[in-house]
Symmetry: C2
């Protein structure tokens, strides 16, 4: 990790805001020399401070075993420029190959966990698994405590999203490779 | 419940699509002659078939006791036309008053649970609580099985959202009463 212009630290008390509006995320994990990444529309913040998250990880995924083995995962928030990559990640398995190599997916080391940060994304949450084996087995539900958070300052600064660049908008999964990107902002 | 033009049944196998893209929801519950409604940005689908959902319900909310008492809740998906109402619902308590009367909030009976459907919303998920007391106490995390689902056919039909009318777009919470509405659709 470094302080490159595309990745600045986010105050942990504000980390929930990276997921508040419901973006699809990429879930990455690494363990024992293996690594993988999958897409997950089913994620949400679970607490503010310390920040926690919840994400659904199907039993069929290769990533799940890596999370259980390492006790950690990273949520990377992809952007519109990565829509094809996000669909490709979501529709292939890493069980018998390295998805990073296959998809030409650049990744960087995280600061506190073994799981990699996916480059080109616009936000990243490094999470330690809050192990709840019964919950994981029964509902495929994985909880994590966010121990470090990062965002691209071009779109997230001072605790808020600013989607001025169309190519850097978050992706919100509708179904089968179709996504909405955030449009107008409204206030109530 | 009736088959009014603004509320058509959604195939339960497609119910997860109502929440896939991350909208803020209104959570309503009723028990023992009391009812209430709150706003929740922190929600997600948990399974396809039978459909399940997860939602975070803080200990301070009046709605929580009604859910625990009745074993059920409804998630109503509000739209842009309701942005002020959504913020008002999210920033007041129903502990010592009837929020429905106070906010002039029309509601209709649900088909299978005691909790009411919030009128003017664009989708509704009737849920039976999957009681997990330890999870509720430890993480404020509530799980539900969707037993009936409805949507406004002007914006959701054949298992897909169609946001042609600006006033009927979903709300995606950023922070403090600010929301994004879905913009362009992209495909990967």
């Amino acid at each position: 990790m470094n302080g490159s212009p595309q990745r600045e630290p986010v105050d942990l008390k504000r980390a929930s805001r990276l997921l508040n509006h419901g973006p699809t995320v990429l879930v990455s994990a690494a363990h024992d020399g293996k690594r993988n990444v999958m897409a997950a529309a089913w994620n949400m913040p679970l607490d503010f401070d310390p920040p926690k998250v919840a994400v659904v990880i199907d039993k069929s995924t290769y990533t799940r075993g890596l999370i259980e083995g390492s006790g950690a995962f990273v949520l990377s928030v992809p952007c519109r420029a990565q829509v094809e990559l996000t669909s490709a990640i979501g529709s292939s398995t890493g069980r018998d190959r390295d998805k990073f190599a296959e998809l030409g997916l650049p990744a960087s080391p995280a600061s506190l966990v073994e799981a990699p940060l996916i480059d080109g994304c616009i936000a990243w949450l490094e999470c330690r698994l809050l192990a709840e084996p019964a919950l994981q087995a029964r509902y495929d539900l994985f909880l994590g405590q966010v121990v470090a958070a990062w965002a691209d300052p071009r779109v997230f600064s001072q605790g808020r999203w600013h989607f001025n660049d169309d190519s850097l908008r978050t992706l919100h999964h509708v179904a089968g490779g179709h996504y909405f990107v955030p449009g107008e902002q409204v206030t109530g």
